[in-house]
Symmetry: C2
DNA sequence: TTGTTTTGTTTAAACGATTAAACTAGTTAT
DNA sequence: ATAACTAGTTTAATCGTTTAAACAAAACAA
């Protein structure tokens, strides 16, 4: 790579000190600098194609204008859509985004956070992984500005932006019950991550309210690592109960996507023989022959708010902001009307 | 944010110079440093939770161990999958990825590249946008290491890794013809981006070879900005010709995804009344009732190779590497067998 | 003993910017 | 005429590392 022009190069060419060049290019000391020199400096900067060396600037100012983003898997629609929103919002504020995928793995998450901190990001947006409360505590101790997104730790005082997942599942189940479904299965992850836990709680509570307390056999928890295979098994089991379920709630777009692929190979018809709702959606649930009824995640608000809160938090503000966004039920063709 | 411990802090606590601390922590001058002092330094580093300030290091070494990634839109499955692969490959080599979306917009692309260069990335991986040859020339002039991915400029001597898009379309059309289709439509983008141009050329040539030269009315080019709406119109038109097409090739996953959403609302049945092939695929084409026959993009090879080539190029190597990967036809249920 | 190595460590410059403080020369006020 | 400003610019320290070169003391060789 060719050596880039520095302030020094410009200074030499114009015959002034680097300080003056810096003042001119940053529009500091307005009015105190002679117009001709300022003009000459600006012209020379353009001529030599000068670009600020942000590394050097960061070292001095202790600001990198970079935020670190830790998502579960950037290849997943949920993460990548969020990443895009955060990217745009950051860009508006002249921030750049460094990202990494945690793969729902605590060790990776820790390593990733450290890499990002080594690079002196000004703050972090994190979708925290199971069993990483200690990592978050570390951040707090070091007073690193950060915002949790999508999930959070209910007993910790941190910034976060998430959907109200309890309400989301509750709304989904209510919709199914109102549609006449009696036996409603749940396919979810076996995990203690808060958003997933809340979704289960919403499901169970909603059923109770309608006096249809959830049967143990209706709830299927699959492992994150082997989800595709286990979703198939879960569906098989739910459909082969002595009293098969007439509806299934999937607690994430990953699960429903696997489910749809499998359902296409089965004779069962949606919604006639089986109703489906998914929490969080993607193109994959829209191209199914019966585009899914789903709980819309307010991704735009989530990403924008998280970024805003982070930037505020970076710029000084030490108050804590916790946001629970409202879920929205979007009725598709996978659930029958009453 | 709390002040981080620096070499100086460690040096003071141990009572040595910062140089020595640096040598120890970087395992330089092995053997020349007394074991006890080295041990003490290491212990103190851990005790004070020392993390290298990569910004300072970068300033001195002129290396950031960061690569910039410019994709069309990180929210799109193609880009995000590629991003994930590049992330993993970079990570293996202790590189971190700074990313941004160009939105197929030349101005955004230029701005993005500049932002990344300002941040002193060691090199770039770019999916170049239409009309950005000049930006690429700039990079060459400044001897910035970079690799183009997915698309390239055929008349420029640059590193690139792409699929052979001509072959891809050719294979797709051949498959359709061998399946008995006579009238094969193409829905593609109105653009001069090389990969898309090549796909069209592959389509036209394949038809010619089978003596079924493409009719003008069979080719529908939609604008990138208004693709969803125009895909619908294109499908309507292709199906309402006096002699309607019996198959359609979609030149990207974005186009086929829009198409599938629309097709679900039409009475036409795939593959009985209409065969479909798409170049590049995603979950969305797998959850369709007739999971699409598609041309598999070798994303893993593409991402890994691009990263490797870039890292080589960064580390000195000034030879140019151009890779055209083989497409692979994956037969789904959207095309009839003969 | 004196000179030469070796070992262990420090000194100091450098990377490219920022910025408070100092300086110089004009200008204005008294 | 002298003091006090003002305008325009430079000096120099600093951010946290890295690293060539210098140095001091101990070990070895003659």
């Amino acid at each position: 790579m060719k050596k880039k022009t520095s302030l020094k190069d410009i200074a030499q060419k114009v015959g002034v000190s680097t300080a003056l060049v810096s003042y001119v290019l940053n529009n500091k000391k307005e009015g105190r600098i002679s117009k001709q020199i300022a003009e000459k400096i600006r012209a020379t900067a353009i001529e030599l194609n000068y670009k600020t060396n942000q590394i050097a600037r960061s070292l001095k100012t202790n600001k990198t204008y970079t935020i670190g983003l830790v998502v579960a898997d950037i290849a997943n629609a949920f993460s990548s859509t969020l990443a895009r929103i955060i990217e745009d919002e950051a860009e508006k504020n002249n921030y750049t985004v460094l990202f990494g995928s945690s793969d729902e793995n605590a060790q990776k998450s820790e390593k990733l956070i450290n890499v990002l901190l080594d690079r002196q990001v000004d703050g972090l947006i994190i979708a925290p992984v199971e069993d990483t409360a200690s990592q978050i505590v570390q951040l707090q101790e070091n007073e690193v500005p950060f915002v949790l997104i999508d999930r959070y730790f209910p007993d910790m005082k941190t910034n976060y932006v998430a959907m109200d997942n309890y309400k989301a599942a509750h709304a989904a189940v209510s919709h199914l019950i109102n549609g006449g479904n009696k036996r409603i299965g749940l396919v979810t992850f076996k995990t203690t991550i808060f958003n997933i836990v809340e979704r289960k709680r919403g499901y169970v509570t909603a059923l109770k309210e309608y006096k249809t307390s959830a049967k143990r056999s209706w709830i299927r928890e699959v492992s994150i690592q082997n989800a595709q295979e286990e979703v198939r098994e879960a569906i098989d089991q739910l459909l082969s109960l002595s009293e098969p379920v007439d509806a299934i709630l999937f607690s994430s777009n990953l699960l429903s996507t696997y489910a749809l692929k499998y359902l296409n190979t089965l004779p069962v018809k949606v919604p006639d023989q089986l109703n489906i709702v998914t929490i969080d959606q993607s193109d994959a649930s829209d191209t199914f022959y019966a585009p899914l009824t789903y709980i819309r995640q307010p991704l735009l608000e989530m990403g924008q708010l998280a970024t805003k809160i982070l930037l505020e938090s970076i710029s000084k503000n030490n108050k804590i902001t916790q946001v629970n966004l409202e879920p929205e039920l979007v009725v598709g063709k996978s659930t029958s009307k009453v």
